[in-house]
Amino acid sequence: MALHQNLTLIHLIAMNKKFVLGIYDDEDVLLEAIENVRAAGTKIYDVFSPYPVHGIDDVLGIKRSRLPIVAFFCGLFGTSFALWMQIWMLGFDWPMIIGGKPHIAIPAFIPVTFELTVLCAAFGMVITFFIVQRLRPSLKVNVFDKRSTDDKFVMAIEVKEGVTDMNALNSLLRSNGAIEVNEKEVIK
């Protein structure tokens, strides 16, 4: 691994963080390892995987996302905006008789209202997702181990200088099925 070379290169910079990476190659081993590592009192910084591992939210204690609530309120905004727009435009701003229908023909307004509801809910939720997850086009990407987007599961544990017992951590990860244990420093 080229990790150790990186490590010496960036060692001089003061504001950096050090991580221990446990590499796993099976989702079920990973899930059990997460449980055991947490039970041993070690705080897991994050876990990286090539695909969504089912059940990982429970063992890592990740709370359910509130994005559906965002979607609901954005959708509600879309509904109200569409209804207001159509009623105001055709009912008040420039009333016209079209096909003998009333100015405010609610049944005819349903399709546009529905479409704008879906549009606002979808875009509101996705934009919020991009913001909270800090997803944006960028050339710099901090991936701990590039294999985590291919076929490996990476458990990252932050090392606190003088507090973390490296040997104990190493053996804890290995005894729970890690195929490799690496160190990595990240400039913050």
């Binding site: 090539p50 990740i62 939720m125 996705v126 985590s148």
Partner: protein, 478 residues
């Protein structure tokens, strides 16, 4: 965790590992273009050139270049519009509705099917815009403040509903597709060797790292988007059908149209997915991911929707007679036995009879037969729209205004041209984007590959281990 029936076939064959999936899918993105792909692109570009020339003629000389006349004001243009939109619907059905139904077989085809949706909607949008005659004024369909007094658009018109439906459908499908692509772009980014590829895929992958929290939110977003896209796709073709159903033309003014159009859309869309997938899997050697099981599942959807369409044709005819309305009765007799009888019977043969062959398991699982039938369905569904539009218009209430429609070379050029446009976009997608959703296929691999993975000693890993009889022997008849 979940039960997988021992008789269920594996969805990924060939004993693949996670890394094999990455390799197999990234290969054509990273390798130099292969000769078959380049040849196909050359043909598609000829189609695109035809499109550009036909659009130039349409814009420069006006829509008089088309074969429309005072009686038949909608013909190939709107036929093509509805045909393309319908094709697009299968992509959303596969990615959204099958996600809600937790159908795992969708994972290896959803990416390409969604791409198909987006490109098909682009092709579809060309027709109403060109039909406006002055497309540079296309923004007049939007409710914008304007200088004509404050004259607003007519929200009572189904044509305006279409504007909102198609644009919402396009943008939501695009977002759904892109969200799914982000993790796969990250995979390509982390493998990229060249500086251009690394930068391009870095930007496209939006800094994705695959952390547990990110995946948790990603899954929530996918699920909600699927939940939104499901009624959306149904609404889009419902609204397209209302372009006809809300008018008082005999043969159009029927309440059966929305469900009938939606079923037809899914029917034609699955046919197009099959046409594309059978070629794609062969060209890019993806036989282990798009298996006969996938083809068979899609063929079952074709039987179902094809039968719904068949029942709709019969019901329409029955109701025309039962209504006692002279004009309605004439419209249908004229469809089947009038001057456009050949279009009607082509539609009946391609849409009602050919898909019934899929009741035979052997035909359902034959790639050649499936490919041929899928082409028949594509043709049949084009004729369906042609029959509905042209035969209803060409002989209306006043016999003095009866007329026939025949397409000009420009009509044909625009239509063939959009096929060129579609395949140009699809081939570029195949080359630069991962055609299979790697992350999702990896997620089902352990339960659906039919291979026992090492670590089965753990109690939790027992979900979905297949019996010994299911070990992967390559399918001999592929």
């Amino acid at each position: 965790m979940q039960h997988v029936s021992p008789i269920r076939e594996p969805l990924v064959t060939g004993g693949k590992t996670y890394h094999d999936i990455t390799e197999d899918v990234c290969r054509q993105v990273e390798a130099k273009p292969n000769i078959r792909w380049a040849a196909a692109l050359a043909v598609a570009l000829v189609g695109l050139a035809i499109f550009i020339y036909s659009v130039y003629r349409t814009l420069w000389y006006g829509i008089g270049e088309w074969g429309l006349n005072k009686t038949v004001g909608w013909a190939w243009d709107i036929t093509n519009f509805v045909w393309w939109v319908g094709i697009g619907h299968a992509g959303t059905l596969i990615s959204a509705i099958l996600l809600l139904f937790r159908q795992k077989w969708r994972t290896s085809i959803n990416r390409a099917a969604e791409a198909m949706t987006i490109f098909a909607v682009i092709c579809a949008a060309m027709f109403p815009v060109l039909h406006m005659g002055r497309p540079w004024l296309a923004y007049w369909v939007l409710p914008l403040p304007n200088t004509f007094g404050s004259l607003w658009v007519n929200f009572n018109s189904p044509l305006l509903w279409d504007v909102f439906a198609i644009s919402t459908y396009f943008s939501v499908s695009l977002v759904f597709w892109y969200i799914g692509l982000i993790p796969d772009f990250a995979t390509i980014r982390d493998r990229a060797t060249g500086p251009i590829a690394r930068r391009a895929y870095s930007v496209l992958s939006m800094g994705w790292t695959g952390s547990a929290k990110a995946w948790s939110r990603y899954e929530t977003v996918s699920l909600i988007l699927a939940g939104l896209a499901t009624p959306l796709v149904l609404s889009v073709h419902t609204i397209v059908s209302m372009d006809f159903a809300t008018s008082v033309i005999p043969g159009w003014h029927t309440t059966i149209f929305p469900p009938y159009f939606v079923a037809g859309a899914i029917f034609s869309g699955f046919a197009m997915v099959l046409t594309l997938m059978i070629i794609t899997r062969k060209v890019f050697h993806l036989e282990d991911y798009i298996t006969l099981e996938h083809v068979e599942s899609m063929n079952k959807v074709i039987i179902l929707t094809g039968s719904i369409v068949g029942i709709a044709y019969t019901t329409e005819f029955f109701i025309a007679w039962y209504s006692g309305v002279e004009y309605e009765q004439y419209a249908f007799i004229n469809r089947a036995f009038g001057p456009y009888w050949w279009a009607y019977w082509s539609m009946m043969t391609c849409n009602v009879i050919t898909p019934q062959l899929f009741w035979v398991r052997k035909i359902r699982r034959s790639l050649t037969a499936t490919f041929i039938i899928s082409i028949f369905v594509n043709i049949g569904m084009w004729f369906e729209r042609f029959v509905i539009i042209v035969t209803s218009l060409h002989r209306d209430y006043l016999p003095s205004s009866w007329a026939m429609f025949s397409p000009t070379i420009i009509d044909i050029g625009v239509y063939v041209g959009t096929i060129g446009l579609f395949f140009t976009l699809f081939l570029l997608f195949c080359k630069f984007f991962p055609v299979i959703n790697m992350a999702e296929v990896k997620a089902i691999l352990k339960s659906s590959s039919g291979v026992k993975h090492h670590h089965t000693s753990h109690a939790k890993s027992m979900h979905g281990t297949a019996p010994e009889s299911n070990t992967n022997t390559p399918h001999s008849n592929e």
